[in-house]
Symmetry: C2
Subunit: 145 residues, 2 copies
DNA sequence: ACCGTTTTGCGGCTGGTTTGCAAATGACGG
DNA sequence: CCGTCATTTGCAAACCAGCCGCAAAACGGT
C-alpha cells in the first residue's frame, strides 16, 4: 500500500514487516483492537508485543491509526480510513463487549460555546456510549432490580 | 452523617473509620480525586492505600461516589451530592490538569434515538472535554505547528 | 554491497489496581 | 458489658498495561 509508504517516508520512518502486518490486521478488522489482540492476530511468534505498542504509538502520531479508550484500562486502535478526517464514537455492550460505530457526535456549537465560556482552546472530546445490546438483553430479561 | 450509615446498613456494610474519613475528604474537595490523592489527604499513616481502593469500589457500588476516567490511566472519584441523580462532565487542561465542571451533556433525545436504532437498552455515556486552559495557552503562545 | 539511522526483541521496570491472608474491628444479641 | 461472627483492614505480593535501554537485525539511499 503506497499510502503507508508515503506516510512513513514523510516522517523518515521505515517500511518494516511488523508495521505492514499491523496495518493489515487493522484493515481486516473493523473494530477497535487492543495491543494484545493485534499481537495475537499477528502470531506472537512474528512480532514482539513491545513492538506492537511502539508501532501503534508511531502510527497514531502519523495519523494512520486512531486511539480509543473505553474506560477499561486498555487502549484500542482503529485504522483511519483513506482521507477520513473526523472521528467517530462507539456504542459498547457492557455484557459482551460488542462494539457498534456511531455517527452521532457532540454538537460542535455546544462544544465551541463551552470552550469560549471557559477560555479554553484546542478543544476536543472523548465520548463513548455504553448499554446492553439486544442479544444480551434477551438473554438476561430483567437484571433483577 | 446518617446518609452514609443508612446506605451502608442497606448493604450490610459497616461504618468504619476509613470509610467516614474518605467521604470526608471527598466532601471537602470538589474535584475528582485519585485514589492516591485521597490516600495522601487521609495521611498515609491512617489508612492503607489498598483500603482506599476497596472502599471507593464499595462506595461506588452503593452510589455514594461516582467514578470518572480522564484517560490518563488513573481513576478519579467525586462525592455524589445529596439526592443528586444526573452526572456531569469535565473540561480538563491537557497541560496543567486543571479540571472544570461543565453542565453541558449529550442531548438526551439523541442518545435515546441512538439506543433505539441499535436496540440497546440501559444506555449511558462517558464524555469528557480536553483542551488548553487560558493560563497555559498564555504561557505557551503558539504550540509550534 | 556499504553505511548510518531506524527498528526489533528481550528483559526489566513503572505505576495503578487487585488479591490472599491473618489480625483487628464493627454490629448485634444476651 | 461481653462474646460471637461477618466484615474490614494492613501488609505484601501479585497483576497488568504500557514503557525503556541496550545490543543485534533490518531498512533506505547511495
Amino acid at each position: 500500500m503506497g499510502e503507508l509508504t508515503a506516510a512513513l517516508r514523510k516522517h523518515s520512518r521505515k517500511v518494516t514487516g511488523p508495521r505492514q502486518a499491523i496495518l493489515e490486521v487493522l484493515r481486516r478488522h473493523q473494530h477497535p483492537l487492543a495491543n494484545r489482540e493485534i499481537h495475537r492476530a499477528l502470531g506472537p511468534e512474528n512480532c514482539d508485543l513491545a513492538t506492537v505498542y511502539r508501532n501503534l504509538h508511531t502510527l497514531e502520531g502519523m495519523g494512520l491509526v486512531r486511539r480509543y479508550d473505553f474506560g477499561d484500562g486498555t487502549a484500542r486502535f482503529e485504522l483511519v480510513p483513506e482521507g477520513e478526517e473526523g472521528h467517530h464514537h462507539h456504542l459498547i455492550c457492557q455484557q459482551c463487549a460488542l462494539i457498534v460505530e456511531v455517527e452521532e457526535c457532540f454538537p460542535e456549537e455546544l462544544e465551541q460555546a463551552l470552550a469560549r465560556r471557559h477560555g479554553f482552546t484546542g478543544i476536543t472530546h472523548r465520548l463513548e456510549f455504553f448499554g446492553l445490546c439486544p442479544r444480551c438483553a434477551a438473554a438476561r430479561p430483567t437484571p433483577a432490580d
